[in-house]
Symmetry: C4
């Protein structure tokens, strides 16, 4: 099975997800700076979500670069990841419309947690496809960064009920550590 089409379909879905989030930035009826200031939290939530979805595209791109073949379960694991990513516009919109209340921030962190879990399941499906001794499995290694992200998102969900800004700071921290390209796959194995 060729991997080209699974990449193309994922690119299409992620491109749409990352772009429709901007529709939440609704055109204000007043044309003064106060209207823009009012939009600032919506804009910052958009930046955070654009960054997170961009990171998934980036890691997906790096990981599939090392993929040799894709079997049936890889297709479903990939679709499962796209499903949770597709909830990002809703979670972002809910968080910003509520003015960053606890429950919507917890839901936002939960959707990110599910994205991270489904991404991990995708790596499992790819390792099962390639074998534990494959170049792919070696390139993935212990996936310490992936495990740390899972733990951080799992902590960010309940933390939203303590302090939403601590929860969002944790989410932002995870994003920042991922902006550095994943050298495991970027380097030729």
């Amino acid at each position: 099975m060729t991997k080209g089409r699974i990449e193309a379909f994922s690119d299409g879905v992620i491109a749409i997800i990352i772009t429709i989030m901007v529709l939440e930035l609704k055109v204000p009826h007043e044309a003064d700076l106060a209207a823009l200031q009012h939009l600032l939290p919506v804009f910052l939530a958009y930046v955070l979500s654009f960054l997170n979805v961009g990171i998934y595209w980036n890691n997906h791109h790096h990981m599939f670069h090392s993929v040799k073949h894709v079997g049936g379960w890889v297709l479903w694991a990939n679709l499962h990841l796209l499903f949770w990513l597709s909830l990002m516009p809703f979670a972002t919109g809910f968080m910003e419309e509520s003015g960053f209340l606890s429950m919507p921030v917890a839901l936002y962190a939960f959707v990110l947690l599910m994205c991270a879990i489904s991404y991990t399941l995708l790596t499992f499906a790819l390792i099962a496809e390639h074998g534990r001794d494959s170049d792919f499995a070696r390139a993935l290694g212990s996936d310490a960064k992936g495990k740390a992200s899972l733990a951080a998102y799992a902590a960010a969900v309940p933390l939203a009920y303590v302090n939403v800004w601590v929860s969002l700071a944790l989410v932002l921290t995870v994003a920042v550590i991922w902006v550095v390209p994943d050298r495991r796959f970027a380097r030729p194995a």
Copy 2:
């Protein structure tokens, strides 16, 4: 004729269809659990439709993997399939907004039936293109799973007027049997 571009265009259209369905998940104005509970049926309908459209992409991907060349009628048969798939967001939205009343559930099953019929017509166009003795025709075989799906959808339409949950259970059953990748095309012929 190369098949690359028909795959790319189908990927684009299906990616958009699967993603714009999430726009029906409208951000609630209240940020409490009751608001989320209210969204639960909308969410479940989204999951069901995401799964169904995902199955079509998956089967399309597997089938075109065995396709050698595409002629004029294949392009139109493919566009016909995309047309019915493009009605999925409307059918899903109508079903969930009505609170799962008989007529909208019947319409949902009808759109799925038309998708299945147009997919079958696409296989006919591809068999006509490749010949009855081709590897493609052999790989397709008797298409028992496809025929069973057609029968199930045809039954789900009137059943919606008897009991919508029985009708939806039938639709879900068809989805579950398709999640197993189509081994006919996944296997090298």
Copy 3:
């Protein structure tokens, strides 16, 4: 210059245009047959526009199959075509919301006329690129079907002020003659 990316971008834009038109099919608040009957003209306008945009994708696909190289003006001529195609959702929505009044039907025919003109300009740019004696120019031939379409659309604009159904019948006739694949490019030159 490779033609792959101009095809990919056109596929993306056309895929979005053909899909966002379905957003005009707004979910009715009543779940009875009267609500569906009310949607029938909107649905028929969607079918007509889906068919027309599908025809452009199809012809674009066939024509670019014979294209050997693309220069600067081809990119702009292609973007010009995509611009007019991007007005199809607006023109379709305007026509159906007005209940098929003269002016919106004339505007719909005008947008189709501009699409046909910009498609013709694209063929000119491609002939200039390949040369009048090229295989591409020979495959295009006299383009009688293209010229007839231009004339029909040009007639459909004023005809909308006489009788909208005659105007729309003309538009539909042009669509039907294009559903037959363009054998000039489909055949190996």
Copy 4:
């Protein structure tokens, strides 16, 4: 690292950006010429933004044609460009809904300025990747056109507070000089 997927993802995002801008062209409730006249400024703003986004796609296409390999920072620089381009539909909608008041026009010019800055950063990332003595760096040359555009956009932002039409004329002038394809990359190096 292959460049194919970064091109495909960029094509997808730009295709969506250029197409969702047309959603601002809202279907009028009256079907007379006055309703169309009312839409004229919205239409002209759409044309200007379509042209600008089209220019970015065009230049992106030409530049990546000369790219040999892409490293980690190129992916982020590209995502940064896509982020600012994704604000074009909002900036266009804000400008036209305000009836071309100073602040929204200044914001429109500012978003274009940020697109130009992020495009310049992308060229820097690509030069760092290929080396100052590479064919790529030689093809880019002094980038006088890019620098002039940056200066023009930087001037257009404050000018919007003096006279919005002068500011928009400057933006339009930059667009016109870019419609001529970038011969540096179009020519084989």
